[in-house]
Symmetry: C2
Subunit: 352 residues, 2 copies
């Protein structure tokens, strides 16, 4: 393959298989699938997800929503507690005029800002519930109070969502986090119904918790990383090695008796490293050697026998796909060892 390194490489067959498998898994349970597009930020991959039965997309920011809406993906959930003022308020209005956008809220001030920004337009909102990550979201017992505040502001309360992000706490965490997501959503759903809210959206989601048992109140899954998986998902048991579809191609630029150095550093592999994972990436072609240190343009790999020579290209499996994708402008699409296409990371940097 004649590619300039470092490069973001996707195995097309694995990507397609991951997208189709997840579509089947979620549909077979009678749930809707609204994949999180922050992982791939790519129109071609969103199209594959739609073909595989996805019901709209999840995004994290207004600017991601703008990119996908402009390309015809107009059923969008912003799974984030927006605070749209100034230019963002104007952008939200334009978006509401052109797409079906549901907006996350987790507090009264944010809900008020959304209502003010909407300036009379209909805005479906979805209340974020904290299922144990303790990041954003209200406790299930506080959902009704916030829903009533939204209703009084003229916002349509569509339902509730949660992200059991504590599933990333350890390799043993996903099972309990999935159960926590289900419990929190069921409690919030029942409380809202009892208070007279006719909600239709009860949305759970993360790649490690999708596919696990859900209570009947849950209607939707929002996994993101499953399109590629990564080293972290593998360690969490969310995938098998042969499902990992993303790598960073890197050239060996230097070598010594105890190490070799590749031209993929933190500006290509990102610095994400959960406490339970050693190193910053794996080079499976060389006995699973791990990238032990990253500078901005250097990945230092402790090498054993059979280390690659200077000039060889190796493929590094990154720890966390989402932050890696956000560093590149394009994907190099590979099939059976050949470069078959290049796709743009259309929403790269659209994090505002």
């Amino acid at each position: 393959m004649n590619i300039d390194t470092p490069a973001l490489v996707v195995d097309l067959d694995r990507l397609r298989s991951n997208v189709e498998t997840m579509g089947r898994t979620v549909r077979s349970r009678g749930l809707r699938l609204r994949p999180h597009a922050k992982t791939h930020k790519c129109l071609e991959i969103a199209a594959l997800q739609r073909e595989a039965g996805a019901d709209g997309l999840t995004v994290a920011t207004l600017s991601e929503a703008e990119v996908f809406a402009a390309a015809g993906f107009t059923d969008l959930l912003v799974a984030y507690p927006l605070f749209p003022v100034g230019a963002k308020a104007e952008r939200l209005r334009r978006l509401l005029d052109t797409a079906e956008v549901t907006v996350g809220v987790d507090n009264a001030a944010g809900a008020t800002a959304v209502a003010d920004a909407a300036a009379g337009r209909r805005v479906p909102v979805v209340i974020e519930v904290d299922s144990g990550q303790h990041r954003t979201g209200v406790g299930p017992s506080q959902v009704v109070r916030l829903a009533e505040h939204c209703h009084a502001l003229g916002l349509d309360v569509s339902g509730v969502f949660t992200h059991g992000g504590h599933c990333y706490g350890s390799p043993e965490a996903p099972e309990e986090a999935a159960s926590d997501e289900g419990d929190a959503l069921a409690e919030a759903h029942d409380a809202l119904r009892e208070a007279g809210f006719d909600i239709t959206l009860v949305s759970a989601g993360s790649t490690p918790t999708t596919g696990r048992p859900r209570p009947p109140q849950v209607t939707e899954e929002r996994p993101g990383s499953y399109v590629f998986y990564d080293r972290q998902q593998l360690a969490l048991g969310a995938c098998a090695p042969e499902q990992v579809a993303l790598s960073v191609a890197a050239t060996v630029v230097s070598s010594g008796p105890d190490r070799f150095v590749v031209d993929a550093g933190s500006k290509a592999l990102a610095m994400d490293r959960p406490s339970w994972l050693v190193g910053h990436g794996a080079v499976w072609s060389h006995a699973g050697a791990t990238v032990s240190r990253l500078s901005e343009h250097h990945g230092v790999v402790e090498s054993g026998p059979g280390a690659p020579a200077v000039g060889e290209v190796v493929f590094v499996t990154p720890n966390h796909a989402c932050n890696v994708v956000n560093l590149f402008d394009e994907y190099v699409i590979v099939q059976a060892g050949d470069v078959v296409d290049r796709w743009r990371v259309a929403a790269r940097g659209r994090n505002v």
Copy 2:
């Protein structure tokens, strides 16, 4: 200030002062200053550095060199052991035809690739010496052998360079790392002179080691981060708090009794965190509160009394400026509390 968050904010007065102070410091010691442009990736800032007496720029990649050369910054040192083959070889040739580019080498195979790529064009090369970081570079005693290999290939050996990156090992490390840089460069210089090489470039560099005593053989300094500094440089004693010129503006989007959450996560602040630094950024306006956790779009700050309310904008000092800059497309330039300009991060993502 009416800016969409997260945003990359530069205090113009502090930036100018940092650039001018470093120019004076290095020139007053009779050294040349070749700032590393990987920190800022910005034409306007490179122009300020030139006005303040910089002698050319340092870059890390061919694509950074292309951006700066196209804008008239034609005296460039690629401080990296390039391995230019395929499209990169063609790009190196075009660059050599339009700019004065000196290229790093640290091994025979890389030197051969540079000579092959140059296809007869004159290429000044500079040999990387390992002064203790143990990343790239040859030991001082191996420099002559590699220089002779380069000479036999028809490459012009201009000199040696090192980066004492082990200065980032702990807050006490910079003093010894500076001394290691000087020792390694002096030894390499003397060995090359003795072997008959008429070298003119003996280049040291990092922000924490610049300004410290140097042996007389050293001719040049290559600091990068000093234009902005950051939380890491502050902890290393490389600057005072009032010199830190870069921050990430973020809006508080959620809050609880023990925390508040801002809309700057790892896609805005990057995940860099040396082992000797707690947290992912500081909010100095709120008692130096630290960002204790990062998701992609969330920064979780443990809050005490006086925490900001939802909707307030705060300014987060990031741990490591270089990786933060690479996440944004533009700087918001601020002076005396007002937005006075926007500058492009022209080489954002130019890491190939």
